[in-house]
């Protein structure tokens, strides 16, 4: 059974009633999500990618019953999102993006309280606290005294402490330092080994590449890609920047190299796609002083891969309903 199935899931805001007095001007229709059809398999880590306002949070909020769909349908663990929202949330762990916590409670009290509300034993709490380095003394402090990273850790623990069958995590590594990010990735891997499903929303491509099996990419409320991470990686262009001693190398026509440019200060930049060997071979004729190959930024990747997908005018970023 699939963990999540959406079929033509659509969310529109605004519009107003079909009949209204002439002095009332209904808000324009905003299409936050349009005809989304995806399937998340049980036991996989599924990345849900997109820039801010692409429709990621709208999708999550539809799945968890915060929003009501304007069209289409969806099920989570076989349960209908419109009818069985409470049961879905009983079996799901959710980390909202930019989580807000009750500041006047201690970390421990907050986790106890949220655990009690969930109604399931906090079987994984001790392990999660240990791996995310939330000591007993830290948990006894008030949440208002926590740093952003510590709040995020509490957010992760509250989402996973009851060992949910499905974890929906919205920008989970925001605010975590690199060490804690690593610890978090290993937690996800262990959850996957235990058969849990992770729905992982992020706009950080490198993070999704690292932990996810498959990704869906949304832009302006529409699904623009749904594929294995490996396939996505193969299509990804990397940014290259270098300095050479002498005239620039001849990179035009080299397989996988595009957008070659030489700046007035001598910096040479280009995009590199696929195999790296032809590019390195082209550099053998010059003396390279400095060379940086970095992953493309998400937005650049979108522009390169999907710039001609969809109609720019018929979809819009998530909006708050009027």
């Amino acid at each position: 059974m699939a963990a999540i199935v959406t079929s033509g899931l659509t969310k529109r805001y605004g519009g107003g009633p079909p009949v209204h007095p002439p002095w009332i001007h209904p808000a324009p229709v905003v299409r936050a999500l349009e005809d989304l059809s995806i399937e998340v398999r049980e036991g996989e880590i599924f990345g849900f990618l997109g820039p801010n306002g692409a429709g990621k949070s709208t999708t999550i909020r539809l799945l968890l019953g915060y929003l009501h769909a304007s069209g289409g349908s969806a099920s989570v663990m076989g349960l209908d999102i419109a009818r069985d929202s409470v049961e879905i949330r009983r079996r799901t762990g959710y980390l909202p993006g930019g989580i807000a916590l009750y500041d006047t409670m201690s970390g421990e009290d907050l986790l106890d309280y949220l655990g009690e509300l969930t109604g399931r034993p906090a079987a994984r709490r001790a392990e999660l606290c240990d791996r995310l380095e939330m000591s007993g003394s830290t948990l006894k402090r008030l949440v208002r005294d926590y740093s952003r990273g510590m709040r995020q850790k509490i957010g992760i623990i509250q989402a996973l402490q009851h060992d949910p069958e499905l974890a929906i995590l919205d920008e989970p590594t925001e605010g975590l330092d690199p060490l804690m990010q690593r610890a978090f990735y290993t937690i996800l891997e262990d959850l996957q080994k235990a058969g849990r499903t992770i729905f992982f929303s992020s706009h950080v491509l490198s993070e999704v590449e690292r932990v996810c099996d498959r990704v869906a990419i949304v832009r302006r409320g529409r699904l623009v890609a749904l594929e294995d991470v490996e396939a996505l990686l193969a299509r990804r262009k990397r940014n290259v920047e270098m300095r050479v001693d002498g005239p620039p190398p001849h990179l035009e026509g080299v397989a996988g190299v595009s957008a070659v440019a030489v700046a007035p200060d001598g910096r040479i930049t280009c995009h590199l796609e696929g195999e790296v060997e032809p590019f390195l071979a082209a550099l053998r004729e010059v003396r390279v002083i400095d060379l940086t190959i970095e992953p493309a930024h998400l937005e650049e990747a979108f522009l390169e891969l999907y710039h001609d997908e969809g109609d720019e005018t018929d979809a819009a970023p998530e909006a708050v309903p009027a």
């Binding site: 009501h68 989580i99 807000a100 916590l101 509300l117 969930t118 109604g119 909006a319 708050v320």
Partner: protein
């Protein structure tokens, strides 16, 4: 109702409820003491004609009888403000405030339906209001005993006075919660509820001091809060039914509106 949410709500508000209840009890005790000490003196002053008769009445209360002084204490702005801490302040913040802070996200990520969350917060509001009104009356009893006028107090009618006050502030609490479930931010919910309470209070007070404005008083819920009338043996059903109906309308609105509305991501 969700027990964990109810208990946590009480736990989070316990210091505030303690302070408000103590303040209401002190205030409730004060006016019977004033009546015991100066009631006859005030009566003599009024009888002399120096002060117009209209200024001796305020919202159905006065200072010339124990029941009147208890009524005056109950309808006085100080009592109104203290009771509104929960009937208006807590009620409007219960959903809209949590929504604005973003903590409603975390709460509704649990297996709790919106209706259950609402009913729990409604019951919490009602329990706070009940405690506040009870504290006022407890203070009145203590104050009457201190002033040595307890024998003038119809103690057996105090539960009806409590019910009358409870229903009034329950109605405001219900309106506050209805506003709270309808808005994403605290300010409009609080503003609308506070405006309703203030306008109703103004209508009642205006009618008290200005006979031409008396026809406006029935439009105010405060007009149906009459502790003196009850303590003196009268208890018109309308004084209980009308606030109860208003409270029920607020509850029905909330139970319909809250589950059907979209909760977009907090700003």
């Amino acid at each position: 109702m969700n027990r964990a949410l109810f208990v946590q709500t009480w736990r989070a508000q316990r210091l505030k409820i303690l302070i408000v209840c103590v303040a209401l009890a002190v205030w409730g005790a004060l006016l019977p003491i004033v009546y015991g000490a100066f009631g006859q003196t005030f009566r003599d002053i009024i009888d002399s004609g120096i002060v117009p008769e209209q200024l001796t009445q305020f919202g159905g209360g006065d200072i010339f009888s124990l029941s009147g002084s208890i009524s005056l204490g109950a309808i006085h702005p100080i009592s109104l403000i203290l009771n509104s801490v929960f009937a208006v302040g807590f009620a409007t913040a219960a959903i809209a405030g949590e929504r604005q802070r973003g903590t409603l996200e975390v709460l509704l990520a649990r297996p709790i339906s919106r209706r259950t969350a609402y009913v729990t917060l409604l019951l919490a509001t009602l329990s706070f209001v009940a405690a506040g009104v009870a504290a006022t009356l407890l203070g009145a009893v203590v104050g009457s005993a201190i002033a040595g006028v307890l024998d003038e107090l119809a103690v057996e009618r105090l539960p009806l006075v409590w019910l009358n006050g409870f229903l009034l502030f329950a109605a405001f609490g219900s309106i506050g919660l209805a506003a709270s479930v309808s808005f994403d931010r605290l300010t409009p919910a609080l503003g609308i509820t506070a405006a309703i309470v203030v306008v109703m209070y103004f209508l009642e007070v205006l009618g008290t001091f200005w006979p031409d404005a008396e026809p406006l008083q029935p439009y105010s819920l405060f007009h149906y809060y009459q502790p003196k009338q009850i303590l003196e043996g009268e208890a018109p059903l309308l004084n209980f039914a009308l606030p109860a109906i208003v409270a029920a309308i607020g509850v029905v609105w909330s139970l319909v509106e809250f589950p059907r509305r979209d909760l977009a991501a907090p700003a």
